[in-house]
Symmetry: C2
Subunit: 162 residues, 2 copies
DNA sequence: ACGAATCTTGACAAAACTGTAAAGATTGCC
DNA sequence: GGCAATCTTTACAGTTTTGTCAAGATTCGT
């Protein structure tokens, strides 16, 4: 199993936007790119995927920029990974919607295994929010359910840029 | 996250070898390929990877063939996936042995998340053996710890082919 | 109205992954 | 010894994934 480059880089963009949200600032795509060490066009592409999933909101024009569409506390990694890869865990050619070939009686116990893997991974990912990821100091790899305070001040739509 | 085609197809080869083990038979690579619906050269490549990890034993020559190197009850999916992909779960460019870029204070909570994902996935994969995968009927997606009987009769090295 | 800053989109090149092919090595049988 | 069956290895083409590029669209300030 592998977490793709797109997933990891997309998550980093989201983390940067979560930091900006907490600081009450707005950022541009080139800024995100510079902070995360990637090229502006690449960051733009990733942010576009996240925007199509409604995780990110963008404003065009000279005072424009990008930001989370809601509080980082309310965005889970399951949602983020789904936006970046279609589904948090994808299985090989034998499974999937059209999973034919698996009909052979008794010879394909793989499906049950992948289902269980999907369940436990989703469980972990559901328990982590963007706010957890950017929480400095300890507990960044901690318990899981740390949906604490900071109840989403409507920053973005009102004051697009500092 | 995605399970690769190599992992899935390699696992299917192993399942076929586990079936042959239980039946007390020896098989050739073309037979494995036919049973699992892949080309003989592809099956050969996958079996070679598994052999290098000592999960599979092979005998060349006219009476040759391939088989598991030990009982299917004693081969876990963690071991199989490691043989096929280096590690049961691989993370992106930001992590890994040389995982530089993650040193930025507080901005990289991803490491802890991937560690936890690795832990839970490995937990599931450790609890499933090749014997579980080829056990017909129910419990193929069941509890996990079903290391029942069949204590590895030394079939392979003694009688290479039926 | 014009121009600069910014996001949006689609096409494209580079890299990694999948699967195929061909030549080589080993063994058993005659 | 020679032939056929079988595994082994390396090289290769096809496909998907990654990341870049360029042209277009939108907004703000003047």
């Amino acid at each position: 199993m592998k977490v793709s480059a797109t997933e990891e880089h997309g998550l980093r963009c989201l983390m940067r936007l979560a930091i900006a949200w907490k600081a009450g600032e707005s950022v541009t795509i080139p800024e995100v790119a510079r902070c995360e060490g990637m090229s502006p066009p690449y960051a733009a592409k990733l942010v576009a995927m996240l925007r199509r999933a409604d995780l990110v909101r963008s404003v065009r024009g000279v005072k424009g920029g990008v930001g989370l569409s809601r509080a980082p506390e309310s965005i889970t990694l399951t949602q983020a990974m789904s936006a970046l890869a279609g589904s948090p865990v994808r299985t090989g050619p034998c499974m999937g919607p059209e999973g034919v070939r698996c009909d052979r009686q008794g010879t394909c116990g793989l499906r049950g295994v992948w289902d269980r893997v999907t369940t436990v991974v989703t469980g972990v990912l559901d328990g982590v929010t963007l706010a957890d990821l950017v929480a400095n100091g300890r507990s960044e790899a901690g318990g899981g359910d740390s949906r604490s305070g900071v109840a989403a001040p409507a920053r973005w739509s009102s004051e697009p840029r500092a």
